[in-house]
């Protein structure tokens, strides 16, 4: 029993955090929001140099072969620095999905090395999301096509994709409504084979979003702490007033109890636990809650400044609001959890979810 991260995992997180602190500044986020691709491409290639895109790629394809547990600290860093969706979608979700294919599969052989090299951007189109993030710049879309036998997996390249841009309140999210011409030529796996893979990918995506939401919550808390420590009223820092302190203590508490839930869900993915779906939903809900409260309390303690475009808080609030419903909104995840709790006693009682492997 060791419900902690090892030294390698901690060191990797620290180095990524230091790198993003320098490179993924709020100024760059604003540049990406204003002018789109140029800033993002620059950041993406730097992240590739750092090895971020190689994490989930199997060693045979030039990657590090890391998994869900390694990603749980990493998605928090991506959230903390509000890194656009394409990084996690490509380097984590798509890489994990392609790695599940037969090792010799042409799709894996073609795309995994490019992910490792940081030269591919892959988007995922799944029915739980009505639109697709970063579809326009994607080199490939992993497409879930509903069919009688379940969700099929199709590989859609830009030529077969019709996209219409949608503007998100979070300017870092390059959203699009998409349609594609699917057929035997694009089909990678039929429904019977692909459905379990899509189920796993959906849970992984929810946990990825959860990690980013926890990171966003922490960033909004840190920004708020900095602000209330320097902003003075009545001759003192407003952070010395209990009403302000208590807002932020509540945020810290929600984050403190969302993080271990995220880690348990990551373990469930890594181990293939039978209750994986319920634990992933729990992680998404707990993280969304922490981020939502961090945004609400964060803007409150920033006062009128929090309502401005100028103060950086808005970048992180908007991303948190957008991710709240990404990869399953609250209704979706609560329904899944309610079904799990109605089903049997496996999730109930002291140590229940710890024990089930």
């Amino acid at each position: 029993m060791d419900f902690t991260f090892d030294e390698d995992q901690t060191a990797l997180r620290d180095s990524v955090s230091r790198f993003l602190m320098t490179e993924a500044t709020p100024e760059l986020l604003r540049e990406i929001a204003d002018s789109g691709d140029a800033g993002w491409r620059r950041l993406r290639s730097k992240m590739a140099e750092q090895g971020l895109s190689t994490m989930s790629v199997p060693e045979a394809y030039g990657g590090l072969g890391l998994g869900d547990i390694d990603w749980a600290p990493m998605t928090q860093e991506l959230g903390y620095y509000a890194i656009p969706d394409a990084l996690a979608d490509t380097a984590y979700l798509a890489a994990a999905m392609l790695s599940r294919l037969d090792a010799a599969h042409a799709l894996a052989a073609r795309w995994l090395p490019r992910i490792a090299a940081g030269s591919a951007s892959i988007a995922l189109a799944h029915p739980v999301n009505p639109w697709v993030a970063d579809a326009r710049a994607a080199d490939l879309v992993l497409w879930a096509q509903p069919a009688a036998g379940g969700l099929e997996l199709h590989a859609i390249e830009p030529g077969a994709l019709q996209v219409s841009a949608l503007r998100s309140i979070d300017a870092s999210r390059q959203l699009a409504g998409v349609s594609a011409t699917t057929g035997a030529a694009t089909r990678v796996l039929d429904g019977a084979q692909a459905q379990p893979l899509w189920d796993e990918t959906l849970d992984r995506a929810a946990v990825s979003a959860a990690g980013q939401l926890v990171g966003l919550a922490q960033r909004m808390l840190d920004l708020s702490v900095d602000y209330v420590a320097q902003r003075k009223q009545f001759g003192k820092p407003i952070g010395s007033f209990q009403a302000v302190k208590h807002h932020l203590a509540d945020v810290a508490t929600r984050i403190e109890f969302a993080r271990p839930v995220l880690y348990r869900a990551a373990l469930a993915l890594a181990r293939g636990d039978a209750n994986r779906a319920a634990l992933a939903s729990h992680a998404k809900l707990a993280a969304a809650d922490a981020a939502w409260i961090a945004a609400r309390k964060g803007i409150q303690v920033h006062g009128a400044m929090g309502y401005t475009w100028e103060v950086d808080l808005q970048l992180f609030m908007k991303r948190a609001w957008a991710l709240d419903a990404a990869w399953g909104d609250r209704g979706f995840h609560k329904s899944r959890l309610a079904a799990a709790l109605a089903g049997d006693d496996a999730l109930l009682g002291p140590a229940a979810t710890l024990a089930s492997g």
Binding site: M1, D2, F3, T4, F5, D6, I69, L221, V225, V228, A229, K236, P237, G239, S240, F241, Q242, V244, K245, H246, L248, A249, D250, A252, T253, E256, F257, A258, R259, P260, V261, Y263, R264, A266, L267, A270, R271, H282, L285, A286, K334, L337, A338, L341, A342, D345, L347, L348, G349, P350, A351, A352, T353, L354, G357
Partner: protein
């Protein structure tokens, strides 16, 4: 990251489970806030001690098992899964016990700890006073050196002393230097409650039972042999064991997971009635999630401690989290029960109602949640003091 229990941990769990199965009383005991119920709970503590289970984390030489905190979590899981009785002497075992182990003389340890483990002595707390609640450093009860010097003379009043009516000893802080203020000049003393000059006046709690008491001291003589640590150092002695472990040990996650399990089962039994209020399903889900989160956070922290990490003010988030969770679960149960919820003797209602009343106290005792929020803001987030 590894969630598999070791062979030793599994054996520990099996041993605890088997012992509890053989010894937990078949019928629930009467409330420990009544004389009859208290005596039965005291007898249960003696049974636990005879089996070596009264405090698993105490050293073996003192009647414990020398268990680590993971084993303690395991024991608590088995204890609550078995619906074993509430623990009546936790103030002694969790608060005074560790303090004695750290600061007590060998004579004090031998004199008090084995009797505490068996509940031969029942310990009451002597911290709060009428004018020293959240502001504990405002303590004004005095313990002045008597002529001749080998005893103190106590005068003043303590209050909110849980189960003091049934206790025979009290531990607490007294002002030994009348010129001192705040946390200086306080001394940690152990006081026999049958000493001349002590008056105990019960206070009825919300449930109508005499759950706590005021304790009055009128020229009460206490030997200097009953002092823990040095004179004037009482604050530091009391605070040294006030850290994370105390915060966690006070309320194990298993307790709340068991309540969450009962809540989900209650909701399932009354689904049709409950769902007329659309907020109930959400509250049941949140109850389950937060009980799970508290459990996972406890394992996470205990494993970090085992690897040598320091845990500081994060402990204050625990108190807020479990006390609000306990309220939520009991409020939700009361709403599911609906109009029946006020029927105190209804067998399905009784425990929920008692728990609902007790949950009201959670955000208040052991440091109000407002004080905990101040601690989080100042020591964890680094915000300036007011």
């Amino acid at each position: 990251m590894d969630l598999e229990f070791t062979a030793e941990q599994r054996a520990f769990r099996a041993e605890a489970r088997a012992w509890l199965r053989a010894h937990v009383p078949a019928a629930p005991l009467p409330s420990y806030d009544t004389r009859e119920g208290f005596e039965q709970h005291r007898a249960w503590e003696a049974t636990l001690a005879a089996g070596g289970w009264s405090s698993v984390i105490w050293p073996k030489a003192l009647g414990g098992r020398g268990a680590d905190l993971i084993e303690w979590l395991i024991f608590e899981e088995e204890y609550h899964a078995a619906d074993a009785p509430m623990r009546v002497n936790q103030n002694g075992i969790l608060l005074l016990g560790p303090t004695l182990m750290e600061f007590g003389t060998p004579e004090q340890k031998a004199r008090f700890l084995p009797r505490m483990a068996r509940c031969d002595d029942m310990w009451a707390q002597g911290w709060s006073e009428p004018n020293a609640g959240s502001d504990m450093a405002a303590i004004s009860s005095r313990a002045l050196r008597a002529e001749g010097g080998d005893s103190y003379v106590l005068n003043g009043q303590k209050t909110w002393s849980t189960r003091a009516l049934f206790a025979n000893w009290l531990f607490g802080l007294f002002r030994s230097d009348p010129q001192s203020s705040r946390h200086h000049g306080l001394t940690y003393l152990l006081v026999p409650l049958d000493a001349p000059g002590i008056t105990i006046r019960p206070i009825k709690a919300l449930n109508g039972k005499q759950a706590f008491a005021e304790v009055f001291f009128d020229d009460v003589r206490v030997s200097t042999a009953n002092r823990i640590g040095d004179e004037g150092q009482g604050w530091n002695v009391a605070m040294a064991t006030a850290g994370f472990e105390r915060g966690l040990l006070l309320r194990s996650p298993a307790r709340f997971q068991r309540t969450a399990q009962r809540l989900v089962q209650l909701y399932r039994r009354h689904r049709e009635q409950a769902d007329r209020d659309p907020a109930i399903r959400d509250a049941v889900l949140k109850s389950w999630m937060d009980a799970e989160a508290y459990n996972l956070a406890s394992y996470h922290t205990v494993c970090r401690l085992a690897k040598g990490a320091k845990v500081g003010a994060e402990a204050s988030t625990n108190k807020i989290f479990w006390s609000e969770l306990d309220l939520l679960m009991h409020e939700t149960a009361m709403r599911i029960l609906g109009a029946r919820g006020e029927l105190a003797d209804d067998p399905e209602v009784h425990d929920w109602l008692e728990g609902f009343l007790f949950a009201q106290a959670g955000p208040i005792y052991a440091g109000t949640n407002e004080i905990q929020r101040n601690i989080i803001a100042e020591r964890m987030l680094g915000l300036p003091k007011s």
